[in-house]
Amino acid sequence: MINSKSITLFLFLFGFWLLMSGHYTVLITSLGVISCLLCVYLTIKGNFLDNETIPIYFFPRLIQYTIWLIKEIFISNITTAKVILSKSEDPELFSVKATQKTNEGKVTYANSITLTPGTVTTQIKDNVFEVHALTKEFGNDVRGSEMDRMVTWLEEGK
C-alpha cells in the first residue's frame, strides 16, 4: 500500500494544497494532510494508482523535454500566425507511426502533436496516428519524426 507511487502522489497533492491554501496554521495544515491522505487512500482503493496516474519513469527527463516542447510550440505559433495572416494554408491529412511502447508515451506524443499549433492528431489506432496539418511544412515536421524520437527518449527515462 505504501510504495513510491502513493508517496509521490501524496507529495504532489500536499504541495499543490500548500500552494493553493496560503493559510499555514497548525489546524488548517493538519486538515490539509488528512484530506490528502484520504485522497491517496481512495485512489488506492479504486485501483487508480498505476503508471497512468503517476508515470514516475517520465520524471528524470521531463524538465528537458518541457523546455524543448515550449521552444517548438513558440516556433510553430509564429509560423501559424504567418500562415493565417498571409492566407497560404494548404491543409493535408496523413498517417504516421509512433515508436512509443507504453500507452502513456503514446498519449504524450499525441498530445504534444496537438499542442503544437499547425498539427492535430485526429485518430489513433494502435501505433498509427492520423494527423491533420495546416501546411505541407508542418506535415514534413511531423513526418521527420523529431518529436517522436524526443517522446521515446522521454519514455525511456533513467
Binding site: T80, I84, K87, L93
Partner: protein
Amino acid sequence: MLDLSIQIISIISFVGGVFFILTGSIGLIRLPDVFSRIHAAGMIDTAGASFIILGMILQSGFSLITAKLVFIGIFIFFTSPITGHVTANLARKKGVNPIGKTKGKTL
C-alpha cells in the same frame, strides 16, 4: 529602474498575447473547415494564454499568486490538446472530410 524594465517586459508580453489571440480569432473565422480552425484555436490556447499569463506574473510580483498563475498555465496546457483532439476525432467519426489533399492510407 528594475521596476520600469519589469513593467516594459510585462507590457510587451501583454501585447504579444493580444497579437496571438487576435490572429487566432481571425484564423477561426477565415480558415476553410473545422480541422483548420482547430489550429487557430490551438494558437489562442498556447501562445495567447501563456503570454497573457507571463504578463500577469510579472505584474503580480513574487508571491503565492505567481504559483497559482503558473498552475493555470499548466492546466491549460494539459486540457487544450484534449479538447482539440476530441473535436477533430468526433468530426472524423461523423464523416466530415477535410478540405485539401489526403496522403497515403488514413484510418
